[in-house]
Amino acid sequence: MVNERLTVKMKDKRENMLASMLTGEDFEMKLEQLKEAAPSAKPSIRAELMRMFACLKIPCDSMREDEYFEELVDTTVLPSFDDIETKILETLFANFDDYPTPEQSMLRIVDRVCDKSDNWQDGTLRLRILKQFIKYGNYLTYTADVYDNDGNIVLKKNGKPKQSKVCIYNGQKYIVEYAEGKKGADANSNDDVINNIDDDIFAVLETATKAQKQPEGKYGLLRLCDDLACGRFKAGGSIKRDLYLFAIVYNMSFYCENGNMEQILDYETDIQKNLFEDYYSNNLMRYLTNAYSGNITAYEIDPSGQGINYKNFAEMVYVYYLSKDMKRSMKIKNAEEMIKRLSSLTNKNTLNVSRNMATRYFTSKMTQEVFDLSEDDFERYIAENYDCSLELEDYVDSKGEQKQRAKSSMQTQSSSYTAFRLYNKLIRDMEHFDLSVKRENCNYGLWFADVSGLKKGMNGEFFENARRKDPEKLDKFVKLLFAINSYLGNVFIEQENKQTVNEEHREVSSRPVSTMNIQSPQFMTRTALITAYYYYYNAKIENENRYKSLVDVYNDYTNPMSGLNAYLEMAHYQPVNDKNIFDIAVIFSSYAASHI
C-alpha cells in the first residue's frame, strides 16, 4: 500500500483564539509580575511574555533581559477592547463551526484507518462501516463450540464438536436478501454482498420496531453502523464493546505505555486517541446535529470520558486481541469466547477491587510482557488478577415482575472511585475559600452569556450584529450555548407564580446542577469533574483577587501539577482538549468570571 501521509502544517487555531483576547493590560500586568519575580521565576515569565507576543505575531526572544521586554511593550501597539463578554462571544462564534461533530470525527477516523484498496470512500459513512463489518468481521458472527451446563463440549455423533452460529449482532439475513434483491441473483460471497448494497439498505430503520433494532433484532447490525456513523452512544455500557469491535475490524492499534521501548504511539490508528478521546466523549457539537433527536433516553447524555478501563477484564481481553497478529474475524471470535469463559468461571477470583486499588494499579500491571503472553497464559493471568464477575441489576420484566439480571461484562468495575474522590475534594476546597459558597449555589453556568436571558430574547450588540450577518449560524451558536450551559448551570425561567423575585432566585440558586450533584462513583464523568473544577477555580480566583489574562487562565487549567489537567490525569480522564468545545468554553467562562 502506498504511504500517502505527507507533512502538513498544523493550524494555529488555539493560539489564534488566545491571541484574540490579549490586551495591552495583559502585557502590562505580566511585566509587573516579571519585575517583582525572584530571579529563578523570571525565565518562565519571560517565556509567557514571549508566547503572548508570538500570539500577536510579534517576534520576541525569551532569553533577554527585563528591559528588552519593557521596551517591546512600550513600542508595540497592543490591542484593547471594553467588553470581555462580547469579545468572548465573538471569538467563539467565529470559531465554533471548526469543532467537529461526532459524525465528522468518525468520518476522519474511518478515512484514516480504512484500507484504501477497498475503494469504498465514495459511500456514505454508515455504509462504509457496514461493509467493513461484513468483510473483516463476517457480519460480527462466528461459529463456536457448544458447551453443556457443566462446561463440557457437546459432541456430534461422529465425535466432532457440535458448533453453533454466534451472532454478536443480528442482521446478516436481511443484508444478504437486500443484496440479492439488488443483484437479481444469489450472492455467492461476502464480496458479492458488499458490491450490491447501497445506503438505501438503511431506509428500513425508519419504520423498524424497537425490538428489530436491538442487537439480536432483524436490523441490529444496521442500527449499530448507523449509530456509530452519527455518534449516538447507546446507554448501558454496550457502546464500548461496539467500539472495540470497530477497532478490531479496522485494524486499529493499541499503545502500551508500560515496558515497551520499541513501539510508537501511532496517532493515526491508536484506539485510545481516536475512539476514546476524539469520538466517544461529551462532544456538545452533537446538539447541532439530528443524532440525538427523538428518544434521547436510550442514549448516553454524558459519556464518562474514561477511555480504556484497565480495571475491566473484558476491555483487557479486547485490547489483548487488538494487538495480536491474526485474522480480524478470528480476533473477534477469540475475544468473545474468552470473555464468555472468564465471565462463567465457577471458581472465580473473588477479588473485590476496593477503592484503594485504583485504575492506576491495574494500568501499571498491564505491561507489554502481559500483552505478549500466549492466549492461554493471558486468560489465566486475567482470571487470577481480575474480578471477572458480572454485576447484577434490577429490572422489571414484561409481566411487571421485579427481577435481577447480569449486566454487560463491559460494566464490571466501571465506577470511577478516584475521580469521585477528587470531585468531592474540589467541592470541599471550593467551600473552604468562601463559606457562603455551597455546591447547591454553583449553578450560574456560563459567565460570558446570560443563557436564561436568551430564552426571552437575544439582545445586545453581539447578537444584533450576528443576526444581521448570519442568522442561521447564530441559531446554531445559541443552541450550542444552551447545550454547554446545561452541564454547567441552571436556566432561570420567569413564570407567573406567587413568589417574589427574591424567593424565585433563592429557589433557583439552591437547586444544584446535575454535574455538581454526583452522589456515587458509578455516575462520575469527566464533564462533572471539569464542572467541579470550574466552580472551584472561579471561587479561588475571586478569593485571590489577582489579575489574569486568558493565557494565564489557560495555563492554570492546563498546569499538569496543579491545574485541571492534574485532576484529569489522576482520574484517568483525558486532559484539556483543544478539540472539545466544552473544555474551551469553560476556560473562556473562567476568564470572564475573573474580570468582574
Binding site: 507533512t7 502544517k9 521501548m261 510508537i264 504511539l265
Partner: protein, 233 residues
C-alpha cells in the same frame, strides 16, 4: 556518521525535489546530527529545511555545553526564534509567506566528555537509540492528525520534545523523518526485518529495505555511531 535521504514520489509541486535536509558535524568533544523535513505544501520548504538545519548548527555551536543544563522551553523558544528570523528574511527576498518555508526540526547532540546525549524534536520525526542488541524510542513523532507542528507554528516551542540521557549502553543515535519511519513501522509496531537490522546497526541493509519499498514522502535517516561505523551512504 551515516545517512540516507531520498525524494518521495509526490509533492504538491510535483518536482520530486527532496524537501528533507540532513546535517552533521563531529569533533573530539561533541557530535551532532540534524534533520529537517519540509512541509509538503510549502513551495520553498526545501530551502526552509536547509535554513532550519543551518541555524540549528550555529545555535548549537553558540550554546555549547550549556544546552545540557538549560530550561528546555528556553532552548526551544530561542532556537525557533532564530530560525524564524532567518526564514522571515529569506521569505521577504522572494515576497513569499514565511509558511512556505516551514519544516520540522530534530537534532541530537552527543557530548563525549559528559557522556550524555541531548535530543530535541519539533514535529513528526522519530529519534531512537540502539545498543546491546536492542533499540529504544527516545522521542516519538508528535500527533500530526490535524497537521504537524513545524518551525513556523505559533508558539511551536510548547510542542517540542527534548531531554538528556546518558550514553551508557548506547552505540548509536538515529533520527528518521516521517517518510522513513512510516516505512519502518506497521501501525505502531516495528517491522521485524527492520528491527533486525536496527539492533545490528546494519544501516546498509536498512537503507536497502527502505528504498525497496514504494514511497510517496521523502525518506531520510541520519545516525551517529558512538562506537564505530558500519555504513557507507
Amino acid at each position: 556518521m551515516n545517512y540516507m535521504s531520498e525524494a518521495g514520489k509526490h509533492h504538491s509541486y510535483d518536482n520530486a525535489q527532496n524537501q528533507d535536509y540532513v546535517l552533521y558535524e563531529k569533533n573530539n568533544n561533541t557530535s551532532y546530527i540534524i534533520l529537517a523535513d519540509g512541509v509538503s505544501s510549502g513551495k520553498y520548504s526545501a530551502d526552509g529545511a536547509r535554513i532550519a538545519c543551518d541555524i540549528t548548527k550555529e545555535f548549537l555551536k553558540a550554546t555549547g555545553e550549556t544546552i545540557f543544563d538549560r530550561n528546555s522551553y528556553e532552548i526551544a523558544g530561542s532556537l525557533l526564534s532564530d530560525i524564524n528570523v532567518a526564514l522571515k528574511c529569506e521569505a521577504e527576498k522572494r515576497k513569499a509567506d514565511i509558511d512556505e518555508y516551514a519544516s520540522t526540526i530534530a537534532f541530537a547532540v552527543i557530548d563525549y566528555n559528559r557522556n550524555e546525549i541531548y535530543y530535541f524534536s519539533l514535529g513528526d520525526s522519530l529519534i531512537i537509540v540502539s545498543g546491546n542488541e536492542s533499540f529504544t524510542v527516545l522521542s516519538m513523532p508528535s500527533d500530526s492528525r490535524e497537521g504537524c507542528c513545524v518551525t513556523t507554528t505559533l508558539n511551536g516551542y510548547m510542542h517540542s520534545n527534548s531531554g538528556v540521557i546518558s550514553t551508557d549502553d548506547i552505540n548509536s543515535v538515529v533520527i528518521c523523518s516521517d517518510g522513513a519511519w512510516h516505512l519502518m513501522y506497521n501501525r505502531n509496531k516495528i517491522d521485524p526485518a527492520v528491527r533486525e537490522v536496527l539492533i545490528k546497526q546494519d544501516y546498509n541493509s536498512l537503507f536497502k529495505l527502505l528504498t525497496d519499498k514504494e514511497r510517496v514522502d521523502d525518506c531520510s535517516i541520519i545516525s551517529m555511531d558512538l562506537v564505530g561505523s558500519s555504513f557507507k551512504s
